[in-house]
Symmetry: C2
Amino acid sequence: MDIKELYAKHQKLVGKQVELIARVRNHRQGKSIGFLVLNDGTSINDVQVVYKADVAGFSKISEARVAAIVAVTGTVVLTPGKPQPFELQATKCELLAQCVEDYPLQKKEHSPEFLREIAHLRARTKTFQAIFKIRSAASFAIHQFFNSNDFLYVQTPIITENDAEGAGEAFIVTTRTDANYAEDFFGKKAALSVSGQLNAEAYAQAFKKVYTFGPTFRAENSYTSRHASEFWMIEPEVAFSDLKDNIELIEAMLKAVIRYLFENVSEELEFCDKNLEPGLIEKLEKVRDAKFVVTEYAQVIEILQTAIANGHVFEDNNVYFGLDLGTEHERYLCEVVNKAPTFVINYPKEIKAFYMKLNADQKTVAAVDLLVPGIGELVGGSQREDDYDKLIARCHEMKIDPKELGWYNDLRKFGYYKSAGFGLGFERLIMYVTGAQNIRDVIAFPRTPKNLLF
Amino acid sequence: MDIKELYAKHQKLVGKQVELIARVRNHRQGKSIGFLVLNDGTSINDVQVVYKADVAGFSKISEARVAAIVAVTGTVVLTPGKPQPFELQATKCELLAQCVEDYPLQKKEHSPEFLREIAHLRARTKTFQAIFKIRSAASFAIHQFFNSNDFLYVQTPIITENDAEGAGEAFIVTTRTDANYAEDFFGKKAALSVSGQLNAEAYAQAFKKVYTFGPTFRAENSYTSRHASEFWMIEPEVAFSDLKDNIELIEAMLKAVIRYLFENVSEELEFCDKNLEPGLIEKLEKVRDAKFVVTEYAQVIEILQTAIANGHVFEDNNVYFGLDLGTEHERYLCEVVNKAPTFVINYPKEIKAFYMKLNADQKTVAAVDLLVPGIGELVGGSQREDDYDKLIARCHEMKIDPKELGWYNDLRKFGYYKSAGFGLGFERLIMYVTGAQNIRDVIAFPRTPKNLLF
């Protein structure tokens, strides 16, 4: 029986025998009695097993070290007043697989840095069990949200010829050692995708509502707690939809994910609230229940300038129309001013991508960033430029050779009416909903500069 | 309104006005009357619109070319006896986005080769709408199956230091042009993953039941209809489980996916049955309802040898214990002999991977392949070797340096009791359930040798 199932049914199983196969999390041995704390990975909760000297297999089980795998048959007994609601009184114990003596994960606390070096083992700790259970649940919540809203899941390519958007920050994919790309596997230079959006737009023109959910890559030499070289992105795209529809979609998706987490991994959220970010659950409840606010970028600048005039000091106090907002500005806006998740819309065109729709003012584009209390930007999106000539002009303004994106630009020639979408960095979302402070701790086997283990 | 919704509700909407935004699939213009066939990507079914000379916007709409986007307001009218159950009689038409005259996808039939060159447009055809709708549904079915069975979804790394299994067939990931990997981004040679299994095994030891679903890569110069350089794999792994459990899981998963497809994309399956593979639905129904058969590899060899002795001629008639079965052998077994999907188990160790559990006979390993009528192998899996010393010995036998996989082998030291899993090539599954004959036609933007478009 799984521990998850045992917790769900233990009331009905009182006095009955059950059999568990699980890993030893802790073991106190005595001469005539022993206590095993077991976990099988199906639940964040452990099961305590009491075994006595007369139990079948006593001498063997006494030797079980932390991390060993054991099989236990025992009677379910309620334990009122103790932290766990029940325990097993063993009638039979078996040591199935011993662990070596120098197991790297002993009981004491380990630093996150050390745990990253044993990423193949750290998922056995409660903290990582909670984080990766939430990550898995959030993945499913996203697929379920889009599937139930009739979105097509399109797996956009990982190996790509486009490196326009992330010029110089894309990894090269090759089978050669001489950089002779004309003779290379694909007969040309190939790169790892930095975004599936361009491909997703083509599919939105065929299926109306589509989304991607896959890995993306940045060869950026950033040694921060928020940057990884490999991370997963969710990129929905909806044809015949505009910025307003896009905003509604972002809000609906985020709330659906949070609701799903509360319904399905509440114990793991509580663990994170206790151990990673006090107040996490209240923060997420507020987002789930909030009416998100929409603020024009131009207004944001005025708000920040007024705050500065009134004595508020930002690290970067040089706030002007055209500034790429810093996290401190974003957080001030949604935490102090709006006190709610905030969509900032219509950014100056100079600080946004070439494919965003130019507004009538010729100065701003139909872009949207979702800022959330605690971290600032969580989602970025836009309505796309649907006019071919304007798109080409924007390519030139942004020093992009339109020929490199011929097929993408051409979509505008073949019947293209309003398209909008956004990108959600999945790991940033998981950091937000778990309280994990470092992106390396929400990725099973993280990849960062000079770091490629496992 | 979406066309999907309109089809679902059209009976209730008879005589009522609805508004559609959709793409022109076909257009017959007359002086006083016109017929538009529209599709918006939400349904494989089209909607016919009839408009007359007195309709608002007549002159503009008359100019709408194939692939243009139009908005139509019209009255729902039943059309008994016609192929479509209803049509719209337009009261208002608007041309929202014209298409250029030389649209590459005109009405006539196009070759698959030509369509691959316009992969950004081909998804607008009915064939690709059906295929990619089924692909999306199958993706969700897989996530739903594993989620509802308490599997953790783990995203294993794409960039990896392991290229042991696919030696020489892995793409190199670099930011340099001089192959100086010590000075490279990760400080060592990096490759694109050929499988997430090794990482998944580590996570199965923490969560008991896990699965991956992500892209994998092969730098193989194969120009066949079944090989792509980039494809998606599903790799479940279950701790405390053996080959028998693994077989049950494969069968349960495959049947669950087929059931989901029948329940959710039956129209698309019918389209594929009519246009891609006559008999497709019957084939899938048989798999769904079949009791899968289990046959020992050694038995298979005897069966094939008997068949040859009785006059059956295979292309490769040299059948002996140790042969890596060809597709013709696999198909003969499940189509002619067992007349059912067939698990072949316990293969000779020489033709299987080093990590598979050595059986007591010392000759075979606890491997399983699922063979299905029509294509042969669909799934491959095994129980893993759980004994550290045996695993190291197998590494040496297979000429793999155990040091390269130190962390993986070490899992056996830290409490490792029975683990089994399998790999399902997602595109092969999609070919099987759609009848598509070429893997390039079930991948949105396929990557193959010398071919990197979009």
